[in-house]
Amino acid sequence: MSLDARFALDYGDFALDVCLQLPASGVSVLFGPSGSGKSSLLRCIAGLEPAARGSLSFNQQCWQNDAGQRFVPLHQRQIGMVFQEPSLFAHLDVAANLRFGWQRTPAAQRRAGWQQVIDLLGIGHLLARRPDRLSGGERQRVAIARALLASPQLLLLDEPLAALDFARKQEILPYLENLPRELDIPLIYVTHAFEEVVRLADHLLLLQQGRVVAQGAPSQVLSRFDLPPEFADEISVVLQTQVTDVDTHYQLATLQAPGVTLQVPASGLWPGQARRVRIHARDVSLALHDHPDSSILNRLPATVLTTSPAEHPAHALVRLDAGGSEIVARITRRSHHLLQLAPGMPVWAQIKSVVLV
């Protein structure tokens, strides 16, 4: 079960040249700066870039092949799409928008129930409204529901939150997080916001100037030391943690990942909850001994795995094993030299900040 694609697209001032394999489940995120070709790649997968040469197959179905004798048009691919700007049909009310794809899906192919999708996106009270009477967030939720009701085998989302303000994003993200689990539909999600990457991605593809520069599990990709310079500040690990305890006196929650115990402010956290956290390399410093007399709460014993020069000549990157979870640290090259860091050395990682995502 996977999506295999190779595409070459040349617009003169921009060229896309990619080869990728995505898992046909969970959320795959295409990430990159604007102009990196992530939206073009998504459109190639949808079959909306007829000029693209290459091949594409999804779960043993060939949608496009090299020789060009096979090209399945979008309406026969059973692909759902959600675009950045609200693209509801202006001449139809919400219910009729939702019915558009639903009616065109043979009953035997329907995988999501009408009421199930409406409840999942929380749009039951909007059915009689016209699109121009909806807020931006509501429109996007209706657009997602409309796509799901056509029972796609694959859902493509092109920066669906980019046009929304922070509050609207927070309103929609939980719905998106639930989708793959609730409906078992693979998602390919284009974004240039790290928050969405870390929160949603099961598989991450990094694009730059029309090429795939890294791909894999988000933590693996984001913790690579060879990320392109514009991502140098983003080098980080993503840990899947469990909330084990909430200290009501200090309002601190304890999060646990293999070998790692972290304490963070307990806003909206309760025991038993699963949360992803992101720890930036730039927020981790190293010491040879534990310093319980410092204000830094999260100090972890770890072992140096590798060290490497960083993008800036003043910096060095250190990969650590903290009892089963990897952590990365960005320190100065001078400190690296003074501490005489080498693989296998025991150190203490001092984590200045943990981002809950």
Binding site: A46, L74, H75, G80, S87, F89, H91, G101, A147
Partner: protein, 227 residues
């Protein structure tokens, strides 16, 4: 009022309305695919056809009528075709007037439709395709409803413009009572005969009608912009 207008006047009014109605219906059928192609194609051919379609806007109606008369005539290529098909010759018939009117009013139907189609853009079609609609299905279920204001404008403009034509009619249809003598020609005849009161009734009526139609169109557009 019946006494003010002669049977000939009424016949001319009826003929004008028939001509304008038939022209509008046929023109919308023809202009829809043409405008769709012009709105979407980037080819040189589309640019050339776009210019051709616009020609009637700038050409004197007599020029258009003259060439049509030649083409439709006994030795013209359309004339030979209609004769071969057993339709006879079109000049000085209602059919000939209809053809000429369609050509003359073509830009008034194509341009609003083309603008409406262009304004819709490719996105709704992409969305429709992602919801399993074939291109033809999407055209009828998405494009046509979204282009409704364009169709209303195109219909009103084609109808009103056909009602008001004179030069082409005279060249191609002449002045045969009950067959090709439309309102504008009837007015001309009244004026030629110095029958000013009759001319006034017809001319004033047309002025009022055209004004009301255009006013309705503007109000319709303004209302749409507000919503």
């Amino acid at each position: 009022m019946a006494a003010l207008l002669s049977p000939d006047d009424w016949s001319a009014i009826r003929l004008s309305l028939q001509l304008a109605g038939a022209t509008t219906v046929l023109l919308l059928l023809l202009a829809t695919p043409l405008a769709w192609w012009l709105a979407r194609s980037r080819s040189v051919a589309a640019a050339a056809v776009g210019a051709l379609v616009t020609l009637p806007l700038v050409l004197p109606p007599t020029v258009l009528g003259f060439y049509l008369l030649l083409a439709l005539g006994q030795n013209g290529w359309i004339g030979q075709l209609t004769q071969a098909l057993g339709l006879g010759l079109l000049p000085f018939t209602f059919g000939g007037l209809l053809l000429a009117s369609m050509l003359y009013s073509l830009p008034f139907a194509v341009q609003p439709l083309q603008q409406a189609f262009a304004a819709i853009g490719p996105r709704p079609l992409e969305v429709a395709a992602s919801l399993r609609a074939s291109p033809l299905d999407a055209f009828f279920s998405v494009v046509l409803p979204l282009a409704r204001p364009g169709f209303i404008t195109a219909a009103i403009m084609s109808f009103a413009h056909t009602l008001g034509e004179f030069g082409v009619v005279l060249m191609i249809g002449g002045n045969i009572p009950g067959a090709t003598r439309v309102l504008s020609v009837q007015i001309y005849d009244h004026v030629e005969a110095l029958e000013y009161p009759q001319a006034h009734w017809l001319a004033g009526g047309m002025l009022l009608f055209s004004f009301v139609v255009l006013l309705a169109l503007h109000l319709f557009k303004r209302q749409r912009e507000q919503t």
